[in-house]
């Protein structure tokens, strides 16, 4: 009897994690199903239309189109510049919040409000600041630096995509700070004090002790921001130039084509997007592994 009860408990304990995970696994399965289904359509497999033959035609078509290189390049540029600036700004902001012993109000305004604002709302913010009739050109004109509204470089459709980058930086600097501030506070409490006692200046203690210990969290935040900025549709659609188009904008344009076969082209473009973000992720895990071994 006692043996049976023990076996039962052991079985329940073995089963418990899978039961707890079941609902999450359903969501994950739908996600994977969507992604895989989409990628398969890029290889011409659309069972709902009776197409089941694997073909590389659409990938060949996509990889040889003249605007692809420019689109991939533009998206890479937007994502890299935005995430690097977010990383640097986020480190600075987190360090500053730690140094002022972040009060509730500072944390609310500096980090939580930007985290709450939707990207599309931030588009409106940046347009309100930087469009011809926005606040910044008005201030510059007050200083005599700008003559009229048309003198200021347009935020909508600029080939440099500076408006898109501004939106991502405004939104993601606080995100990077949010991801690292708790750890940084903890680390600087424990080790920063020791370094200061040993005679290191605050800046030196930060650069040689705190920052290396936060590297993992920073790398994760950077990767999330990079993948998001590379694959998001809204911001480059609203603020991007006509040419080159960001990759997600190009893919959705092809997706909307009334000819359903054109979906295969859109999905191949999505495949290119998935390849780039996966490559970034693999690079990230490689770095993590090497660091794990070094320790």
């Amino acid at each position: 009897m006692a043996h049976d009860a023990l076996a039962l408990r052991r079985a329940r304990r073995a089963l418990a994690p899978y039961l707890l995970l079941a609902p999450a696994l359903v969501l994950v399965a739908v996600f994977l199903f969507g992604v895989v289904n989409g990628l398969l359509q890029g290889f011409g497999i659309m069972p709902f239309l009776g197409m089941t033959t694997f073909t590389l035609d659409y990938w060949a078509q996509v990889l040889t189109r003249p605007d692809l290189v420019e689109s991939v390049g533009f998206s890479l540029y937007l994502a890299l510049v935005s995430s690097l600036m977010a990383l640097l700004g986020g480190i600075g902001l987190a360090a500053a919040l730690v140094a002022v012993r972040q009060t509730r109000l500072a944390a609310l305004i500096d980090v939580q409000i930007p985290l709450m604002c939707a990207h599309i709302l931030v588009v409106l913010f940046m347009v309100s600041l930087f469009a011809g009739s926005g606040l910044v050109p008005r201030i510059l004109s007050g200083l005599g630096l700008v003559q009229g509204p048309a003198d200021f470089p347009s935020i909508v459709g600029a080939p440099s995509g500076w408006g898109i980058i501004a939106v991502y930086v405004w939104k993601e600097v606080p995100f990077v700070a949010f991801c690292t501030v708790t750890l940084m506070d903890h680390v600087s409490d424990r080790f920063g004090e020791a370094a200061a006692t040993a005679g290191a200046s605050p800046v030196r203690a930060f650069l040689s002790v705190t920052l290396p210990l936060c590297r993992g969290a920073l790398a994760k935040a950077f990767l999330v921001v990079f993948a998001f900025a590379f694959g998001a549709y809204e911001v480059p659609f609203l603020l991007g130039p006509t040419l080159p188009k960001a990759l997600p904008v190009l893919a959705y344009l092809e997706f909307q084509n009334p000819d359903i076969l054109n979906r295969c082209v859109a999905m191949a473009l999505n495949g290119v997007m998935a390849v780039v973000t996966s490559a970034a992720a693999i690079g990230y895990f490689a770095v993590l592994k090497r660091e794990g071994r070094a320790r």
């Binding site: 199903f33 600041l129 606080p174 998935a274």
Partner: protein, 274 residues
Amino acid sequence: MSARRRGGARWAARALVALQGLCVLAPLAVVVLWSVTASWPWPALLPESWSARGIEELFGPGRDTGSVLAGSIALALACALLTTVVATLAARALSRYRFRGREAVRFAVLLPFLIPSTVFAMGVQVAFLRAGLAGTAAGVVLAHAIVALPYAALIMMDALDAVGTRLEEQARLCGAGAVRTWIHVTVPLLLPAMLSAASMAYIMSFSQYFITLLIGAGKVKTLALVMFPYLSSGDRTIASAYGVVFLGATLLVFFLFEVLLRKRTAQEIDYFEG
């Protein structure tokens, strides 16, 4: 020397925190100003005359902004509830049990961080159409929960690790069963994290544009969808009025969650010390 250096660093930190505050609040203020502006001629720094035209056009007769707003909030609350429950259960499995495939599951749960939601939304659209989920609120909530799950799961995993197992073990030693321990010890300890996971999922859902556009199939209208065409061009007063309503709905629910959290924390202190 060292004290002066440290003072300098602290001063620089204060300046940086203040600068960031300015960068955050300035555009909010400009949008609020624009939403009640009648005319704001170049290059004045403040509007010349005011009007309620923006708000009137949004909520005036024949406009459905009110019901769209209520619908968006309901949708986001449903997503917050679903995501938080799923994430809490999953986080418990991932941080309290050692089992086969744990690392793979953990990776899979976090995968939406890496694969853009545009790829997911376009890929899953046909399947949602065929399953009858496209164009329904349930389908949109499901799709939103999928992209909100990794954020909520990370928050819950961190919280479970921080809470530790000490109090749970004590309850078990005192004879409480697993379920009772979970309800009376673990969940109260996790409540602050559950509220922040819920508020994160709420924001994710309320902010979503592309997924709602594809899965909602034009039948599920949210505030994000309705305001989208106004954002980068056209009538600045209308766009800003939408912006203020959007911001208001986000902040309102956030502060509601904060108040709940404060109440909860206050109670807990009473419970332990009283």
